[in-house]
Symmetry: C2
Subunit: 383 residues, 2 copies
């Protein structure tokens, strides 16, 4: 059979450093288990690439990437040097474009960000129940607030009007909500296997093993809020075993701080999901540990993309200080995903995840460098 092929885009800032540890771990796993996996590095995007070529990625970048089974991305956003006003020269809208282009180009319509406060991770909340946080935030990743429609009228004058259109389709709404319910079921089954249970109440007083909470701002953004709510209620009838809940995004942020342990699966729009996943990341210990992935679960011919939630952190780049934990959890998730075609990869993903979690539990927030953490995790793989 053919090797599984991974496109590695180290990206900017701390990206190459944390990707370096991911590659070392992949090498260790491949050597240990004889995995049928290979990878290719793509130097773009970066400020340097933009300098040389005047663009963030080659024009045929997506065509090049399409041939791969997955994309492993370090981090994006290299704004380059600063000007005399201490402002970066390359706007985010250019340096981050590849991220949005890949999501859009490969219709990676699910962004999945789990939040679990694992042993060793930093606990920001005072309440001890924070240790029980175990949620999966599922962000609609293909439309909504991110359709890039809009513009600036009378730009730069005092009469300027800037607009931004939000576009939501029922089709994309249905698929992300149904995905949420399916994940809730899978998570419940997973918990049962592990001997853990949770219980959630339905509106008619029954008890379920799992829950989906829909986020909208339907009291102010009525049109898509209502459409989301209708889709949610309809699809929920296919999943009588999953309890449902609805929160407004503002109240949800509050409850993420007050009682995050009460959430299971959370489904949100592109922008609201962006906000909630950063909050969820901090609840699970911060950007140093938060994995993320952009999935297309429906089209086997395009790659899904795996990147940590964190950015390129230019302030600490190149110093060997970045924590590769989030990147390695993300790599584990990628292997697990690729395991749909090759079960050996799923097993390797689980092994990597457990090694990263064990390292975190043992060392917590230690002052170790990127390579030291990577090496410690690798030793667990070889050992």
């Amino acid at each position: 059979a053919d090797n599984t092929r991974i496109a590695v885009t180290p990206g900017d800032g701390i990206g190459p450093e944390v990707i370096g540890e991911a590659i070392h771990c992949l090498e260790a796993l491949r050597a240990k288990h004889g995995l049928a996996v290979e990878w290719t590095r793509f130097p773009w995007p970066s400020h340097a690439w933009h300098e040389a070529h005047g663009e963030s990625m080659p024009a045929d970048a997506l065509e090049q990437l399409r041939a791969y089974d997955a994309i492993l991305l370090g981090a994006l956003g290299d704004p380059g040097p600063v000007d005399d006003k201490d402002r970066y020269l390359l706007p985010d809208s250019i340096s981050l474009a590849p991220l949005l282009d890949m999501r859009k180009g490969f219709d990676q319509w699910v962004c999945e960000r789990p939040a679990r406060l694992l042993p060793g991770a930093r606990q920001y909340l005072a309440d001890e129940r924070a240790r029980d946080i175990d949620m999966l935030v599922i962000r609609e990743n293909s439309e909504g607030e991110y359709v890039s429609q809009g513009g600036r009228l009378r730009k730069g004058t005092s009469d300027e009007v800037a607009t931004q259109m939000e576009v939501f389709t029922r089709k994309a709404t249905d698929r992300i909500i149904r995905y949420g319910f399916e994940q809730a079921r899978l998570r419940a089954a997973e918990r049962v296997k592990e001997g853990r249970t949770r219980s959630f109440r339905t509106l008619d007083g029954r008890t379920c093993e799992s829950q989906v909470c829909l986020i909208t701002k339907r009291n102010a953004l009525r049109h898509w809020g209502d459409m989301y709510t209708e889709a949610f209620e309809e699809i929920s009838e296919e999943f009588p075993d999953v309890a449902i809940h609805h929160e407004l995004v503002d109240a949800a942020c509050m409850k993420f701080v007050q009682s995050p342990w009460a959430f299971d699966v959370v489904v949100a729009s592109n922008l609201q999901g962006d906000i909630l996943t950063d909050l969820a990341a901090v609840l699970s210990g911060g950007m140093g540990v938060a994995p993320s992935c952009n999935l297309n679960p429906t089209d086997p011919d395009v790659p899904s993309m795996f990147e940590p939630t964190h950015g390129s952190a230019p302030d600490i780049a190149g110093q060997g200080l970045a924590d590769p934990t989030a990147m390695l959890f993300t790599t584990a998730r990628m292997l697990e995903w690729l395991g749909r075609k090759d079960p050996a990869l799923a097993a390797a993903g689980k092994e990597l995840h457990d090694a990263v979690a064990a390292d975190l539990a043992e060392s917590g927030e230690s002052q170790r460098g990127t390579q030291e953490i990577g090496a410690a995790i690798r030793r667990r793989i070889s050992g």
Copy 2:
């Protein structure tokens, strides 16, 4: 001189209960100081009013309110009884409409929500520095994501498309940003008077007594993000004594949890401000203590509106359980605002604020009822 006139709209749920305590405190202050203030109650909006009249407020509601110097609002949102599917009969879009109508009708373009973790208030964050939280979130309250433009095409079918337009004008952007800088200056002056100081770094390495942090999502919602950023940089030149900072809304939510004590004044769009103020409310102890106001600082002929950040909490309504603290802090803020015309009211506002804060410090999160808390605060006023 004429009395200052307040329109009191108790609203729904716990609104009438907490407004009751506000009125008692106003009576106590009026009796003690001979304040030239009077008020009128308006029964709308509520589910009952809607049942009887088929609308949330009378058609001429805004005309009736316009004659007042301020509106004191309890809470909105009485969705009425539930149907056989356990769903409320009155959608939020009807029961909450008056709130948005007042903000829009009186061009209350500033929504101000301070967040300070006062002694006695519940601390949700583990870090002890949370005690130093002292920020003012200023929300653009007149446009942006809340312009109610959009709709549903092919409604209810699988081909449905729902849209929502965001509209931002440079004029409204300029005024809210300038307001933010002015508040930063006032807060710094206030701190100096109280013998407290804070220090913030400018980009060129100077130290300032205050800071304004602008929130956008300019890396994804580029058009208004860029306009906001340009306006911010231009206006900041008029305030060289105020340090400036910029955060993306997702990162800001994270930093509100990780290091909220580092913020001073925060300026955000309507929706992003809505989200950040709920988060700020929880940082200052939760909805039980968080005040809010909707101001029109430029047109003396329309009333500003004062409401706690909390909602109508139908689950505990009518039981005397609601904490009136947020309502009373809000009432204090109203008096302070009305003090622009009558300094005696400002003094009364300060007295009320101090009484509420003293009660909170002494009793903390005690299990007292609405009236008991109100009475304890009133005793401090009379005493």
